[in-house]
Symmetry: C2
DNA sequence: CTATAACGTACCAAATCGGTCCGAATTTGG
DNA sequence: CCAAATTCGGACCGATTTGGTACGTTATAG
């Protein structure tokens, strides 16, 4: 399964590109050209990010977009949330009726804990960090499960 | 955005229910009844889990399903992976062509790091842990961001 | 006043997801 | 040995969501 939607992925790419060239205003069209993404989609994403206060927009001729804050103070989580909405693991509130009756569903707090961990994983990385070359987090890779590096999709 | 698909959520519910009554064989129909989920869907999920080796199936009359291993040695990540496929954040290999040319896309290792963190968050919780009442992980909640506890969906 | 560029909304197409069904294989019980 | 029960493994379809587009409006620069 893929966690981030394609749009969110695009959003991070766009934001990262802007972070790479700070204090330079760039139009949606130019950004689409630079990232090789469909122009209309880029405009849509920029709009969403502007709505979330991540980027500043200047209208009219010679207008364009710019990061609203420094690249260090914008996290990947914010970009994703601006596009896909807030991050949540499950919508387990759907079937609580009977499930709650039989076992009282004690899983809820655990879901919340996992949720928090995921959110922090995304919040821990800033746009600035995304454009720094390598870093290579040491010995976090688990040799027992080969799927960690290369994402695979539901067969 | 919701990370886990509804199916994966169901799968965890089913697996958790089986973990609550270990070494008792149960048919797909009975499981559907107990969890109040559509019967055909439960059968499908059980099938997927059996394929992944998480549950053992016994055919024929008086057949049914049973956890293949102890509830402590099965993680939520495994259940999710059995249903939704392996967990990956992005499919960023789609647009690498031009993106790689302009900035060499140094974001990849960072994605991998985030990916690993998410995977571990899911792998850290076993089915056994899911059925233990509360635990309440202490002071992990961030008071600054109110979205952490209650999952919200894309508006 | 005109050209440019963001804004907002509405809209369409397509892919994926959630869910159903049916036939085949297998085991228990009579 | 036969019949009922139950999983297995496909194919299959409908509907929600997602990805992407288009158009008209607003605002700024020259």
């Amino acid at each position: 399964m893929v966690i981030l939607s394609k749009l969110a992925d695009y959003g991070v790419i766009i934001a990262t590109h802007m972070a790479a060239f700070p204090d330079r205003q760039i139009t949606a069209a130019a950004l689409a050209e630079a990232t090789q993404l469909p122009q209309a989609t880029v405009a849509k994403l920029l709009k969403a990010m502007a709505h979330a206060g991540l980027v500043m927009a200047t209208r009219g001729a010679t207008g364009g977009y710019r990061l609203a804050r420094g690249a260090k103070s914008i996290s990947v989580a914010e970009v994703v949330a601006a596009i896909d909405g807030d991050i949540g693991l499950t919508q387990c509130s759907v079937h609580v009726d009977e499930c709650a009756r039989t076992t009282y569903c004690p899983t809820r707090p655990h879901w919340a804990a996992i949720n928090r961990a995921v959110g922090q994983a995304l919040a821990a990385v800033s746009l600035d960090a995304m454009i720094t070359p390598a870093v290579f987090a040491p010995r976090t890779a688990r040799t027992t499960s080969p799927e960690a590096d290369e994402p695979r999709y539901s067969a």
